[in-house]
Amino acid sequence: MKGSSLTIGIVATVATISFIVGLTLALTLAMGAFTFEQLVFSVAAAGAIEFSILVVALPGTFRATVSLIGALLSVAVLFVLLTAPFVAVIQVIVYAGAIVVLFLFVIAYMGERPLAAVADPLVRWQPVAWLVIVVLAAQALVVLLTTDLAVRDELQEGGTVATPGGENPDFGGPEAIGRSFIDDYIVPFEATSLVLLVAAVGAVLLAKRAVQLERGR
């Protein structure tokens, strides 16, 4: 168990570094110039993908959860790069803070226990799962590479659309998001509050029921 985690860690580190270097080079070539932003992006992207793989690949739930923190933070960096500082902050606070902590609590409560030793009833489907993922990845590549996303960039270079931070310095800031919620998306906003309420009530009920069951034993 420990050995395999170590192996995974070493492979991951090597892969990450090479990924960063490769990605930065590729971006530099593609955009025709090297900027600091590209480097940050490369690091964050590599982190996101790397930690994601770790989440799925690591055998223990605790390690996986810690890896998830890495992935979440990497995504937060990506958000910052995308001029979404508010979302990035929330990502860190809610996700990396609250949600992951919740995971850790549960894991701490239950203890790291191995998977029940029963045969996988779906072992025949394992290759199918891989195949499906490959097919979907291929599809995504096909779609992304055949879609001309550069159109929008050209428009901006022509100066027809104001660059963010120019006319709208608050882009991605709390005020803009708040206005968007209140002005345009009041119903979804209220709906989310309802969802949260239901979740809270549901959690309480579940916990209560579980406690009762435990007493009943």
């Binding site: 932003e37 799925v56 993922i133 990845a137």
Partner: protein
């Protein structure tokens, strides 16, 4: 993307990769906790796309929805973990394949 910097395509590729990795995790992991973690990955992947396009189209809508997604994710985690704990207390054996009946 103000000329220089990183094109949207790169973000989308990262997002897609995260999503697919999460999907794979959902499909092959048998521990419900791990499945929940994988679902978080998928949601994050989707969020990257949302925010990426929000930047791309220069509107905050995508960010707004990313926030909504986070809220939903939080709710989902609360309920999911609650279920996991409930199952754990009853059966002491965590395998998603064992949870085949609605009434335990």
């Amino acid at each position: 993307m103000s000329g220089s910097g990183v094109p949207l395509l790169a973000y989308l590729l990262v997002s897609g990769a995260m999503f697919l990795i999460g999907l794979l995790g959902v499909m092959i992991r048998r521990n419900p906790l791990m499945v929940l973690l994988a679902v978080e990955l998928m949601l994050n992947g989707a969020n990257v796309t949302l925010v990426g396009f929000s930047r791309f189209w220069d509107t905050t809508d995508g960010q707004t929805f990313a926030l909504v997604v986070m809220v939903v994710a939080a709710a989902e985690v609360v309920i999911g973990l609650g279920l996991v704990v409930a199952v754990y207390r009853q059966r002491l054996r965590l395998n998603i394949d064992e949870m085949t009946r609605l009434r335990g």
